[in-house]
Symmetry: C2
Subunit: 380 residues, 2 copies
């Protein structure tokens, strides 16, 4: 693909050739002897990647569907939910929760900040929350939340509160240890650091949360997202038995399976480390160019992406097309209050775990060259 | 793929090489200049394929999600819905409708029968139904419903009732003319006669139904399926503008786009005709073998699939593995009352529109050979 531009946005990320080849698997029945283990094994691999004994789900849909799954299976109408809101995705998750009758309290943090543990503790004292949600990496700002610290606070202040992590832009690139940290739900999707094309909603749910689900007082107010439908399906495939509720996205699951096997084979701990190294390299380069990150501190900046303010005199309409001309696709701003003022690059998956591909260097060099073409002198 | 077995089930069907190649498109942003027209054009092509001026939707998910979209956007709690129930999928659609508060009346027909127009007319006289649902092709029985006739009855008896067609196993293989016949909703999915891998929920919604949706009294009780979220997205992509609610299944949409272009280029009318011809050939072959179809008459047997009773002395555990050994994947029974007694084969998409591939002949010959291997003498 000579004309292919590197997709260096915070998802979809660049995909391995073997993953793409799996996407082109010829027609296969969703109950075929070669498909059942692909889904069954993917469920097992997700347990390893999320460090949980809980229940993974792999469902046709986008990551957004994971919000519906969380809201409609774990929350009952009238229950309170605390949303740690660091940007666009906190607003949206809150809307989703309200759709299913939750009473949502937003703990809003300023743009570029991450939720403070003391603020979380204080909020938890105000009422009894059924759940707290945290955007692990806010794709709109590149902010990384301290989910381990927040989960600790929850266990201390309100131990029954379910800890729900929106990990759409973090699973596979940021450290997550569901069981050890006391995380009850992780919502993610295939197309970010899990390294497969978009089209799959992926979740991990703790045994405790499954217990809460099973003890609901009211019916689940959603059909497609209903875990009563999906639990037997996930269990059947894991037991290598055919089962049917809704047709799985067969090719996407084959592709995810290839990527999950690569992730586990390469080592999950190593994966965390190389994402940190690559991010540090990217952020130093950005700093040396004289540019400013949206996150106010490197302490709470994501390792899988960087959100960067344009320097004085450079606009999205200038920089992004120039990057594209250099073969690099970057993303514009998404947080509504600052959208025209910043851009975002992703550095996840094979673009950092296989540095011999040169994706990150190509991106950073293209950034430097494009800024110069925009007339930016700065620290170039 | 020397080891590839022909997937001759009633979906997923065999996919064209160009469709599979599109599935392997390298990473592409969901707002990339080459992706936006693929989704935008697919929306336009669906209008042609469904013969409607209404609104198509293409959403990451399975066909089942289309039931949620119908139930949560068009029905409000407490409203009555008449479900023409010819098998498994009528039961399930009814459960989905009830999840969102609909009061469901089932008009059940015996196994192998299609809904009778007089029965529909009589049912419509009993109360005011917000909608009627019809499974166009019941994948569990191979029964084809007369949706044109039923829509006529609705227009006469209860003109405000929305006509909802579950076309998961019919769009692309059976004649549907939404506007001319007065069909308000068609629910389908990518992996049947639309000819692309599973993972996309596809719908067509009439302008009238969109109007009903816009005049709802209560909020839509679903987040991911909410047309208030998706209408602006579909409109934006059709206008070739980027927009974002949830990340589309980029590769699946590229693949669907290839298949929809093939369908329109080959001619939709011709497509209806070749599916009828292939089905007639398959059903004659089956009849000549001395086997009996689940549909009680050829008049209401689907053109894209055949559901066939095993002859005396032959069981699923005998026949299906033998067919597989001949390189043909067929499906077992699904209708709970007769599941072990019959099997199903699909004859849709490239397997019939490109007869030079020899899929149908290979399937029928394998059926004959496998029956002989099972010890069946019959009319062989």
């Amino acid at each position: 693909m000579a004309s292919h531009k590197l997709c260096m946005i915070p998802g979809p990320i660049e995909f391995h050739e073997d993953v793409l080849q799996a996407m082109a698997t010829p027609a296969t029945s969703h109950v075929a002897p070669n498909f059942i283990p692909a889904l069954g094994e993917s469920i097992e691999l997700l347990r390893q990647i999320l460090f949980t004994s809980g229940q993974p789900f792999i469902i046709a849909g986008s990551g957004t569907l994971g919000w519906d799954m969380t809201a409609s299976n774990l929350i009952e109408a009238g229950e309170d939910v605390l949303v740690c809101n660091s940007g666009y995705f906190g607003d949206r998750f809150g809307e989703c929760l309200e759709t299913y009758g939750a009473k949502v309290t937003h703990l809003r943090v300023p743009i570029g900040e991450s939720p403070k543990l003391d603020d979380v503790a204080a909020a938890l004292k105000t009422k009894k929350f059924k759940a707290i949600t945290i955007t692990h990496v806010d794709t709109s700002t590149g902010v990384l939340a301290d989910i381990k610290g927040i989960a600790d606070v929850v266990r201390r202040e309100s131990p029954e509160t379910l800890v729900v992590v929106d990990g759409v832009c973090s699973v596979g690139s940021e450290e997550i240890r569901m069981d050890a940290w006391g995380i009850d739900v992780v919502v993610t999707a295939s197309q970010k650091a899990l390294g497969a094309p978009p089209g799959l909603c992926v979740m991990g749910v703790s045994e405790r949360a499954i217990g809460v689900f099973k003890n609901r007082n009211t019916p689940v107010p959603n059909y497609y997202a209903n875990w009563n439908r999906w639990l037997p399906i996930m269990n059947a495939y894991e037991a290598r038995k055919p089962s049917y509720f809704a047709t799985p996205a067969v090719q996407n699951v084959f592709a995810l399976n290839v990527s999950l096997k690569q992730i586990v084979a390469q080592g999950i701990e190593k994966r965390f480390a190389v994402h940190k190294e690559a991010s540090a390299k990217a952020k130093k380069f950005i700093h040396d160019l004289g540019l400013k990150l949206v996150p106010t501190s490197l302490e709470h900046a994501a390792n899988g992406m960087s959100a960067v303010y344009y320097p004085e005199g450079v606009a999205a309409t200038d920089l992004l097309p120039k990057l594209a001309a250099h073969g690099i696709v970057a993303a514009g701003g998404l947080h509504v209050e600052i959208a025209p003022k910043y851009f975002r690059i992703g550095h996840m998956g094979i673009s950092v775990t296989e540095p011999e591909r040169g994706h990150l260097d190509a991106t950073l060099n293209a950034l430097k060259a494009s800024l110069a073409e925009c007339g930016y002198k700065g620290a170039l």
